[in-house]
Symmetry: C2
Subunit: 308 residues, 2 copies
């Protein structure tokens, strides 16, 4: 479908919902966007908070042209894409999709931004479970390229590929996650590294700030350019990943054997929360996002050359 004709409905106006609104408004005109939320001050709320998601606080178009829906029926009845970023509550989502299904066009794509509630559970009360899938962003979605597409076993292949096409055409990186796994993929990976980070700080090997500096000056930049498999495949020389494990598989296994298995509530919290607070206070997120954009611009330009 032509971009100029696509109608997108966003349900929920928390941080993720507004960030997705900012993303869509970079490609669509405000009149193609509908926002639905039960809050009574929706109009003034959008007017105040949505501009913060644009660089230098300026939106590219007249935000008053966004359609603010009062009923769910009105919100979804002529939409091509219905994207919910509501509370992380299964009952709420089950009821929502059951209602959406009544009013939305038959071929509308139904996306949930959830970070943890599988499409299979959300779709339980739907007649047609083929159209719903999780489209999980990496926060904030108006900046970060990744979208994890997590269908249920009933989501149709056509719906998956239409969803992939939508994001690819907009320069994003939609990855089809083949199984409904706890935490999907990105969070599982990040949390694995976070667990070891907590362990090392808890053991007094480095501080919170030193640990962050280590990641920022090594893995961060490296993995921006080449993910872990590609990096270690390169590290193994001509023998690739196999050569890497032949050379230092023993060291890898020693690290795994010695890895921390700390849990939430184990008592590390107080000291580490304190260090984080003392080191960072309140993080200037707009500054972080501005720098992240610059890094992503370099990467996008280089990938555009077909080098990665």
């Amino acid at each position: 479908m032509e971009t100029t004709k696509i109608k997108v409905t966003l349900i929920g106006t928390g941080t993720i919902g507004l960030s997705f609104a900012a993303f869509h408004l970079a490609k669509l005109s405000p009149s193609q966007l509908t926002i639905y939320d039960t809050r009574s001050d929706l109009s003034t709320y959008i007017e105040e908070f949505l501009p913060k998601f644009f660089e230098s606080g300026k939106s590219p178009a007249d935000l008053s042209e966004i359609r603010l829906a009062v009923t769910l029926q009105e919100a979804v009845s002529d939409s091509h894409i219905i994207q919910e970023s509501g509370p992380e509550n299964l009952d709420v989502k089950r009821k929502l999709w059951k209602e959406v299904e009544k009013y939305a066009p038959n071929d509308a794509l139904l996306w949930s931004s959830t970070s943890g509630i599988p499409a299979s559970q959300q779709a339980q009360d739907m007649q047609d479970k083929t159209r719903l899938l999780v489209v999980h962003p990496y926060n904030p979605p108006h900046i970060m390229p990744l979208l994890e597409l997590v269908p249920s076993s009933e989501t149709s292949d056509t719906v998956i590929s239409r969803t992939q096409d939508f994001w690819r055409e907009r320069g994003r990186v939609p990855i089809h996650i083949k199984r409904e796994t706890t935490g999907f993929v990105a969070n599982r990976l990040a949390f694995a590294l976070l667990r070891e980070s907590i362990h090392l700080v808890n053991e007094g090997v480095v501080s919170v700030s030193e640990l962050d500096q280590i990641v920022e000056s090594s893995m961060g930049p490296r993995w921006s350019v080449a993910g872990p498999f590609k990096s270690y495949h390169a590290g193994g020389g001509p023998a690739g990943l196999e050569g890497f494990f032949k050379n230092i598989g023993g060291t890898v296994q020693s690290c795994w054997d010695d890895a921390g298995t700390i849990n939430v509530g184990d008592g590390w919290e107080e000291e580490i929360f304190k260090q984080a607070k003392e080191t960072y206070g309140t993080v200037d997120v707009s500054e972080r996002d501005r720098i992240t954009r610059r890094v992503l611009d370099v990467l996008e330009e280089e990938k555009g050359k077909g080098t990665s």
Copy 2:
């Protein structure tokens, strides 16, 4: 000490040794650098391979002015810094430092690039164990900013701070690791994420290529700008890291409970090595390094503004 007077001796001319040579030559004149290696073709070897470590294959100065030492005594007798990047073999390193100690000036700094053999073990045969520490780079050191400084319990504080100063003055990020931990810190963190990556590919959740794309489009860029603690501290809003764990500590713990505990030799190797080979063939490392430099340039420029 003035940079123009510092004399550096490099022992070992593998990939790490040559990369360190390239790093030093960006700051020192070739005549301040001594390279020692027992290979008989050292001169032609350096001439052929060292230039590859410079951008566009051109070294900034006349490499023939590097002093190539024939004996260890000659190599170290008037050096301020002696940096070994030899084979990962404890016996070799123990003997080396015992010899180096005989001939080197009393206040020379002694650094090992090892990724796994602690300074305490390497120093066993030395009279004065206060000067030796591990200075572990993130490969390749002529590009990546991180140096893990891992002293033994006998390394003196002065030696640690002189070593930190050296690297900081050269725009690098030397982090003092407080305990001799298996794999130090960076590799432990990276291998924790690698383990979960292998698990997820092995379970068929995503492919090798998809996993890399996920990291390249999410954590990589994010952690270039803000490490894991800073990121999640920001993610928790005004309540910081504590707020983050209050909000989604349950999801974090679920991911930890479900994390893969795969080991080297468990049988995942064949399929994953094959996927890596088919996806990447031989990685163009010079291309990777060129893009990495661009990313690091952005980050350095931004940090120079005092924003991170």
